[in-house]
Symmetry: C2
Subunit: 355 residues, 2 copies
């Protein structure tokens, strides 16, 4: 059983600490403590809005029951902060497994590797990949309904929407699966591939393999990455879109955000334009449309989020909700309607579903 | 001085042997012989249509003056053919430098590495990369006119068009540069980055670096890779398009091709649709349009190619030519017009240019 200390030290904002926050949200039973020296003494909920009474501590020594250190941030470029080195080395010294989702692999750090070998400790790089196959378009089971989350930007909640939608589908009796494509999703799902770390030529091949490995389910919800509108990551997004060949897309966005995250002089595009381009790009490979919108309203009040959802729903003619505030039922219904229309996966679930 | 034997053994068709053919076309003074056992005794021109009297030989022993073995093919997935192993090992034994552009890196092959160390021989992987920076959109010199070649498919002549266009611009007095983004282009240009081998998150960053490194020229012609319409490589193409932020695009295609190369059940899209999607995708990041069309008419007669160019030019309203048959002058003129319109690079060249 994994008993984790989640390291966010100095980076506990919602974006940079998204790995930490999602692991705490979906795997709280595995989290013993959060290590963040500035906020030591508080609870996890006080600092990050999730995790209940899980304590925030100032040192590894304060959580002696932990057997794993999770590097819980995802900064642009994915480099490990220099001032974390001694903490990682102390964890290794304490014989803790170290798990990281950074581009900067633990296994490429000679100091960590040497220490881990000395103490018989395992270093786990969630983002490491040896994918080296191109997509082949062979063996795709067309009865499996493929749903994919996309967005106007990175770090706006695609993974959370994907997990909540898959869970919601399961609750209505559908054999659905969440398919992880990033380091955080892999922590939650227990499998997957961090596609942004794969050699560019093999990303759509890696996406296709994830489909092949999961298409025995009626519905798969494949986590999106980046955005077709992101100057840094648009190619990752397109490789994934073309490798997954989704039947339906869920458009995700964060309410109130005006510019590309981390590139404040690049404004976000209006949702209509975002939808048009995704549909255009997806349909090059496979018939597909945006079936629903998921709003991330974390910075706004209940009332403001409800108003936004109604406005967007009217403007775009698509069911719209905030999965954290409202649950995923509107998205679930949109997926079931698409499944029925296409005579695909989810039909059995639809028969079982109430109403 | 490099004196190469180009290895194509068993793979001398125009697509798979494109590295060989382009190196022979643009660096004939460095090529001593082609090694292809089936065609031994013929000339290079007889087998591949370029290279004049360069001999095709059946063994390394027949070209004792060579000091370098170039692996001259680029198969899908980039793996080295098993039956080439003994040839590579013999080259190492002969103390020849081995140069390869395959995904399958020479340096990852323990047998090659051991033999190279033993004989003091250098292994050069053109595709190897340690790029690990994201794009930043800083320091772009807007006076440099950025031209980029794009296509409906891979392996249809984007590199040749890019080289010919840059050379044509130089002949009219423009300070232009060809910027290589693939292994063959790197052999021709002597520098560049094989972007398809870069970790997906860093491809647009690598493209941006190529722009920053070359933007002291008035015009840069950045070689395109893959195609937005290619199930395997579309993400590489989009990363490059968004990293380069071109002002103008040259659409390349191979006359007579009906389907994606190597995926015969996926038909190619009509040029109008191809142009629309490239312009849509490029304009997300930077104002850009397709300014000209380059036809690869290698499988057709002079007359057929001329008719195709006229038909396409009328249909699309764009200057159209086959750079190998007709020279690049129409493309050069289109670039100079764009430079004048945008008050960018090439203006000086335009003043110098005749007519």
């Amino acid at each position: 059983m994994r008993r984790m200390i989640v390291l966010t030290d100095g980076y506990n904002d919602a974006h940079t600490a998204k790995t930490a926050i999602c692991v705490i949200r979906y795997k709280p039973e595995e989290v013993v403590a959060v290590l963040d020296r500035e906020s030591a003494g508080k609870t996890c909920t006080q600092v990050m809005g999730v995790g209940g009474e899980i304590p925030v501590v100032g040192s590894l020594a304060e959580a002696p029951g932990a057997n794993t250190l999770l590097v819980g941030i995802a900064p642009p470029g994915g480099k490990i902060p220099e001032h974390w080195r001694p903490i990682v080395l102390e964890a290794i010294d304490r014989k803790m497994t170290v798990v990281s989702g950074l581009h900067d692999l633990l296994k490429d750090n000679a100091e960590f590797v040497r220490a881990a070998a000395e103490h018989g400790v395992q270093l786990v790089d969630l983002r490491d990949s040896d994918e080296n196959d191109v997509a082949n378009r062979r063996g795709i089971r067309e009865d499996c309904l493929r749903i994919h989350t996309v967005a106007d930007d990175c770090s706006c909640g695609k993974m959370v929407v994907s997990v909540e939608l898959a869970e919601g589908l399961k609750r209505t009796g559908v054999d659905a699966a969440f398919v992880a494509t990033g380091q955080t999703g892999i922590m939650v799902a227990g499998s997957g591939c961090a596609v942004d770390r794969v050699i560019a030529d093999f990303v759509s091949g890696a996406a296709e393999k994830l489909v092949l490995a999961n298409q025995h389910h009626e519905v798969i919800v494949v986590e999106g990455q980046g955005s077709l509108f992101h100057p840094r990551y648009s190619g990752v997004t397109l490789s994934l879109l073309h490798g997954v060949m989704p039947d339906g897309l869920i458009l995700c966005y964060e309410m109130g955000r005006k510019a590309i995250f981390g590139m404040e002089d690049i404004p976000l595009e209006p949702p209509r334009k975002v939808i048009d381009f995704y549909e255009y790009a997806a349909n090059i490979m496979h018939p597909c449309r945006v079936i629903s919108v998921a709003v991330n309203g974390q910075k706004f009040s209940e009332r403001e989020v409800a108003a936004e959802c109604e406005r967007v729903s009217n403007e775009l003619g698509l069911p719209t909700c905030d999965v954290i505030r409202h649950g995923p039922e509107k998205l679930v219904a949109a997926v079931l309607r698409l499944g029925k229309e296409l005579h695909k996966g989810g039909i059995r679930g639809l028969e079982k579903a109430p109403g």
